[in-house]
Symmetry: D2
Subunit: 329 residues, 4 copies
């Protein structure tokens, strides 16, 4: 089911649940997928950075989308990450995700090597020419080659297959320019933000939505922000946006990304195990203190299932964190 | 006249007019100061980065503020840049600016050398303890040592003399955290943005205003944005914010900063000469093409005085720029 | 055949030959492997950055080593890149490479995500504890997380399986500190440089050798440098090192890395096709001019097979490059 | 005395002694200058980064050179830092330093603002055209705009007044290219390194010497390295270079640069006070522990005057440092 619907709203980049032996926990992934849909997120976004696509195998990435598409059964659109190591593998992924009825794929600029903007533009033009499925540019210069705004502009003008951008650069001035220079020329071009702290400012300025990792932990809150915005209750949207900031910061502070987000999901009642990147014992100690703080924050948000893990006062946790932090480099 | 008024609204970081022999053109600085006040900007901000404080002498920096304070005669508050090379010179500047009736000084983190956050905090605590005038932290990590949010938080809690921050980091997520972690604890702490592209989003989220260089070129437009925001006409504020984006981009693209802003001021009818950093002949050629584009943009904004310099079609200028750009490294 | 020989001398990070349909050209890889051994390089280094390990599939990486080990038949040691996306896949690769008789594997810090030094240390400790084959740390902070010198020191002291470092950071002061702080404590720890421009300085200061991409293009020259150094003819080693600098620079300037090095191999008589990262038509034009320059440089080095492709004067090529460069962003 | 002598050997970038009230301690500066000359350093280098030129006033910078020139009385050449905030002030400084008989001035690329390579080239061409004294380019991209190698090449070919480069970029591959692309074309162009860790490799490859901050602390050792090199005793030069590495690292680790180097000078029997950048109490504690370690290292080098301050075992200091470090951010 390739739908012509514009990509907008809140897409959830999900973590992948693993067993202890590092196999994907398919049952839990299904349960989690279902829960996200029931909580009302606009769409699903497997194989994003939150999904640690880079740390699992090609076959696992395909499998993650198969499971989620099967479980979603067309109830919500799926944006599938397809940032494969070369263009042949991207096409292979695109074909499979099209067959599975995904709405679009998202593709980062090449990673590891530095590559010229000329090559990046050429790369996306080749993709756009042959892809059987719509493409969302995924700009995340922290981790992979930036896709410059000039390149985005030319691709948007020339390539119908490229239907939008998900910008995780944390660069709001650039996002403003994108709205001004691209969206005005091609209004159906989706401008999605991949930076949770500025979801509301982006919506207020005309952005189409976001891929928001904390919507995988507190979908109720993120959807309340988004729906308040839609209904014109900006004060409430603002209240929730600010309320989310500490939660976001806490999850980013817990070990290597995305372990804090993974733990947030666990505190909501799932068993996602540990991710592929191991933590040192020192980091685990720090992580456990953060976990308690995270539980308290989630409890404050009204998520009773997290209450049991909120065992210590916030001040105690902060001092514990302080002490542990000093032992980390 | 040290006023207890909160720092908010639009403060204009002005360029300094020079004669050909590099002396400050005092008459033109007076005329320009007066014009800015008449156009309705909230306050003046001499010795910011736009004022190229780093490229003139200590005596010249003092002189710039003396002239402007004398011309302003208390009509608008003055925020005076005092980022001097060492703490003794900062105090010397602070004392003089207090005597001149300035509202506050702004001070960057140390520049050139990398300095620890511990030292930066200590530095501002010493300043705050002894300064005869209120201090605004000036965060501009592109050019000088970042003042981390943790340091800002502690300074805001402990130092009444430090009354706010002007954040030019272009980092909206950080600005959101500043509002959430500092302003909630100390509501009178001014959170001013120093990034023109995101003035409106910042205002919508609760920021107090901005130090906005293009308010020195098109004060009518920036004040219309700000006043529309104040009166609740968000649609108009949005229209102006987006309208300003191309003007801002064009001025940033003209030679080394702040030559484009300087030229904008010239196109409004002033004679500010050239700044202390010389341009190569190649760059002058590029600059002249940009100048024409800038004139056309200002003409479109309704500033008739710029019309004469808008001599070529926008397409012609763009192609000229393209040709020249290719000859630049 | 796991040999206890210390890793030293010149290891060649080879490009991978492809057919037009992107399959690995096995015959050419065999012929090239054999040629390198006959030219006298100390060892082979498949799946380095030059081998574009990140752009091919896991199965292809394994296959590259299988082919080269089969062709080498123990004549030279093989250092096999095993920077797989997760620890399970690294072990899988290690096991296979051990079975194939490789001397050691090289492993980068994790790429894409930023990871703490604590995690990186923990990661290598886990690898070292379980690997069936010796490990060389591969430090390349341009592309993947840096392995800090403090971490290198602790790993060298505690983990016999970790037998050395290949440092591609281009950071000679760090390399000096590595020699001083690690090698003095564990003399059998191999300190290999992965920066061609400073091979001789590194050897003179006590380094063990290098993984030198231009030894895949001009093995005669690099081995002459190395052997002159060994025999005490520093003047000749210096002459060759400086002679190589322009060749190195030219290959780095040709398109995205490692296309220039690939073309160098082609000019020596091989058919390596194009790499997985496509070039734009503009870049191809630039590339072809560089190719001619490269041919002339190789001809000057006495490699007659490159002479035919050296068609224009160096001045002509430089002016052509200049003209083309201006059309590139 | 403007001498046509080539700039080579070891130039000492000196710290400036201050009284507690931040005035320059002229007597101690004279005594220190004299001591350096007696210890045999090739030349003096006031107003370098070690001299914290950026943190003192224009008048103080001029005064520092006046004192040192007066004390040196032509016994050694003086290279005077003249990185003033604008070109008029640079000329003013150049004129004064020429009058004082300095050998040359060193000038960094502009700092604070980012400036195009075109402007940097133009800036140095203007300087070269009008300067009454020879100029050494000072490349230190950590703190000020890089002077690209292409710009260096063109300046070296066109401007007789520009007689060399002092490269503090820590980038040995770039230094190799400078030797290969500039010095081969203009053999009298001085290539001086400003990175202490790689002095010997640079000399071995054909560099002319260095501006070496630790030659202000242990001139005996640095001159022994240099003189051993000159006399062909490379083994001894190597021994000293490696011996110096820990001293260098320790001084860099002590507070903000250049406090560790300042303390090294104090341990040799001078009273240089504290620099203009204040340290926090936490940092002072750390600093004092480092001081003891530094004293022990200097004692080991045979400098008896430091012995009294070497009060604790190295292991104790290391553990103390470790504990303190954990309390610093």
């Amino acid at each position: 089911m390739i739908s012509p619907t514009k990509i907008q709203g809140i897409f959830t980049p999900n973590v992948v649940p693993f067993y202890d032996d590092h196999r994907i926990n398919e049952g839990e992934l299904r349960r989690y997928t279902n829960w996200l849909i029931e909580k009302g997120v606009t769409g699903l976004y497997p194989n994003g950075s939150t999904g640690e696509f880079i740390r699992i195998s090609f076959e696992q990435r395909i499998r993650v989308v198969e499971i989620m598409a099967d479980e979603a059964r067309g109830r919500v659109p799926i944006l599938a990450g397809a940032a494969e190591p070369n263009i042949d593998m991207v096409f292979q992924a695109c074909k499979r995700y099209a067959d599975l009825g995904c709405r679009a794929v998202s593709v980062t600029g090449p990673y590891y090597f530095k590559v010229s903007q000329h090559s990046i533009e050429h790369y996306f033009r080749e993709l756009a020419a042959k892809s059987p499925i719509d493409i969302l540019l995924y700009n995340i210069p922290q981790f992979s080659n930036e896709i410059s705004l000039d390149v985005v502009k030319r691709l948007a003008m020339d390539c119908p297959r490229i239907v939008g951008i998900k910008d995780s650069s944390r660069d709001m001035p650039r996002f403003m320019d994108t709205l001004n220079e691209v969206k005005t020329q091609r209004p159906d071009f989706s401008c999605m933000i991949g930076c949770e702290e500025i979801l509301l400012p982006v919506l207020l300025m005309g952005g189409d939505g976001g891929t928001i990792a904390c919507s995988g932990v507190a979908p109720e809150a993120v959807m309340r922000l988004y729906n308040s915005f839609l209904s014109g209750d900006i004060a409430e949207a603002k209240r929730v946006q600010f309320k989310l900031l500490e939660l976001i910061k806490t999850m980013f502070a817990a070990g290597n990304f995305p372990e804090g987000f993974r733990e947030g999901v666990n505190l909501r009642g799932f068993h996602t195990g540990r991710g592929p990147q191991p933590m040192s014992p020192h980091e685990m100690e720090h992580f456990n203190a953060i976990r308690s703080k995270l539980a308290c924050l989630l409890k404050e948000c009204g998520f009773a299932e997290a209450a049991d893990s909120c065992q210590t006062s916030s001040a105690k946790v902060d001092s514990m964190l302080e002490r542990i932090r000093k032992r980390l480099p």
